[in-house]
């Protein structure tokens, strides 16, 4: 059982159970047959599917960023990548380009995400070769804050029938009405995850530092670009479909790493499964605890993730 098939079976079982819970509970009681009928049932099915994709995507993006930046606190939201993706997506909608097809929105968000990551990386790296842990976080948080306010500005001047409201963007929303967008986000996250798992050994080498990785035969420049693209692609897809949901990419990979160790060939797939499970349960909680009022999902993840972040910052656990 070296590669832990038993572990994956367990995690898949947990995901299925959480999906059953997510589908079963909500403001309206539904029977299994209702899920495929148009109306509330189908909407809830779409919601749970999106939640699985978003939870898995955010976790894997976190895994990639953490290995690449050798920083256990790196994840799309903290690095500002989510805000960059959100701003780009809102602008794509505002310009009216999103009617061109379901792929335009995640595509635009991808561009916003990768530009933000490149900017944060350049700011944090400075003149020296090393990437100091605090300057990276600081650059990410500040760039993220600026981009978030620009996002709020763009949303506030946009005609309300076209763009989601500010709440949707800044706190995330897992209800999806557009099957095309769900399909595009799913394809992008699944492809990103698949390639990441195939190349996971390279992430192991990257955690040793770029020079050591090169000594062990990795073409570091090529790998770094590829993984930044993968993480940004996943982040863009997730943000385009569900807005900004923070800290999932922090909580999940770290917990999984504690349980099964830092080998990315296991860490990436396991984090995807655990992330999906986690977000489906968090969403079920957000929908029911104050029903019929729904707590925005970003509030739930931030309330869990914020303290977690501070705890890690204090301890500075290695990757």
């Amino acid at each position: 059982m070296k590669r832990g098939w038993r572990l994956y079976l367990l995690l898949i079982a947990a995901l299925l159970v959480s999906c059953a819970i997510g589908l079963g509970i909500g403001a309206v009681h539904l029977s299994p047959g209702d899920l495929f009928a148009p109306g509330v049932g189908q909407l809830r099915l779409a919601r749970v599917l999106l939640t699985v994709v978003v939870g898995a995507g955010l976790s894997v993006a976190g895994v990639i960023f953490q290995a690449l930046l050798r920083n256990p606190l790196a994840e799309p939201y903290v690095l500002g990548a989510s805000s960059g993706a959100g701003l780009a997506a809102a602008m794509v909608i505002l310009m009216g380009w999103s009617v061109a097809g379901a792929w335009v929105l995640p595509g635009g968000a991808f561009v916003g995400s990768i530009l933000t990551v490149a900017l944060v990386y350049a700011l944090a790296r400075g003149s020296g070769g090393a990437l100091p842990i605090h300057s990276l976080l600081l650059a990410g948080v500040v760039v993220g804050a600026v981009l978030s306010s620009l996002l709020m500005f763009v949303v506030s001047i946009a005609p309300p029938e076209r763009v989601h409201n500010v709440m949707w963007w800044l706190l995330g929303n897992l209800q999806i009405f557009d099957w095309g967008l769900l399909r595009a986000a799913t394809v992008l996250v699944v492809c990103g995850l698949g390639i990441t798992i195939l190349l996971a050994r390279d992430l192991n080498l990257m955690t040793l530092g770029e020079e050591s990785a090169a000594h062990l035969g990795l073409n570091v420049n090529q790998s770094r670009v590829l993984f930044f693209i993968l993480a940004s692609l996943i982040t863009g897809a997730v943000v385009a479909a569900a807005g900004l949901i923070g800290f999932v990419g922090l909580i999940v990979p770290h917990s999984v790493r504690l349980a099964i160790g830092p080998d990315h060939r296991r860490l990436a797939p396991a984090s995807a499964l655990v992330g999906a499970t986690f977000l489906v349960l968090a969403d079920a909680f957000a929908r029911t605890i104050m029903a019929p009022t729904e707590i925005p999902i970003g509030v739930v993840t931030a309330c869990l993730g914020g303290p977690f972040f501070l705890f890690l910052l204090k301890r500075k656990r290695p990757v």
Binding site: K2, T207, L208, S212, G217, N219, V220, P262, R265, P318
Partner: protein
């Protein structure tokens, strides 16, 4: 084994190495010496292929390293640096297995054969007893030996050392260098190492190369190179050089108040 011809190299604006040439025979143990900023580490980075020189070439095992893939380079040579992997929770065994990376198929896992090689490497580096401990939870000396095991698992014919014993206490320094020396003698492993400590270099190396302002200032056996005149010229320090009572090699002695 390693042929360095007319290397001029540097970063952005300033040139660090100027027309450096050297030739390392198979099985040799060569030490690079010189004051801080003289270009020792830059030379190792050029040999590693991480820094592309402005002119000159590095021939490793008969091939220009610029025509090699990273993978081919890593199948031939390995590099142990100082303070490696302080922020990783890989176990010692996992670290040793990482050394097999350049030999694994693109999407493959390690085979039993790779595990056996990693096990042997850990035994040679005298770290097998800590195989399942995370490297973040062992001492600096033990961690360096874990990464030394990783280098050995690569199966290199050339081992590069970049001040590998800096920040280690004397016992751990000697332990690691003894291990390098044993493999150098028994397995004809070629070693090129940057040293900070003149006495360690003098004891362990067959040949020394002294760099100063990016040029080779002196080259030869420790007996030829480690002299009071050279040390004064290169390091600007007045020292006494005696003979090591056991090995007979030169030993640098500092006398306070003699300046």
């Amino acid at each position: 084994m390693l042929l360095i011809q007319g290397i001029t190299a540097g970063y952005e604006k300033h040139i660090v190495l100027q027309d450096v040439s050297m030739n390392v025979a198979p099985g040799e143990f060569v030490g690079l010496l010189g004051p801080n900023g003289c270009g020792k580490t830059t030379l190792l980075r050029v040999i590693s292929g991480i820094l592309t020189p402005r002119s000159g070439q590095v021939i490793l095992d008969g091939r220009n390293i610029l025509t090699m893939t990273r993978r081919t380079w890593a199948q031939t040579a390995a590099c142990l640096m100082q303070d490696m992997g302080m922020d990783t929770t890989f176990t010692v065994r996992e670290v040793a297995l990482l050394g097999r990376s350049p030999h694994l198929p693109r999407f493959g896992w390690e085979s039993h054969h790779d595990h056996a090689i990693a096990q042997k490497a850990m035994e040679e580096a005298d770290i097998a007893h800590l195989a399942d401990r995370p490297v973040s939870a062992i001492s600096g000396g033990e961690r360096q030996r874990a990464f030394f095991a990783m280098c050995l698992a690569q199966g290199p014919r050339l081992l590069l050392l970049d001040e590998p014993v800096n920040h280690l206490d004397l016992g751990h320094q000697i332990q690691l260098l003894e291990c390098v020396r044993r493999l150098n003698r028994q397995n004809k492993l070629t070693v090129v190492g940057v040293f900070h400590d003149l006495n360690l270099a003098s004891e362990y190396c067959d040949r020394l190369l002294v760099l100063r302002n990016g040029r080779i200032e002196a080259a030869g056996t420790p007996g030829e190179v480690v002299t009071p005149e050279l040390i004064d010229r290169v390091y600007g320090a007045k020292v006494v050089v005696e003979a090591n009572a056991v090995s007979g090699r030169p030993h640098v002695v500092v006398a306070a108040g003699s300046h």
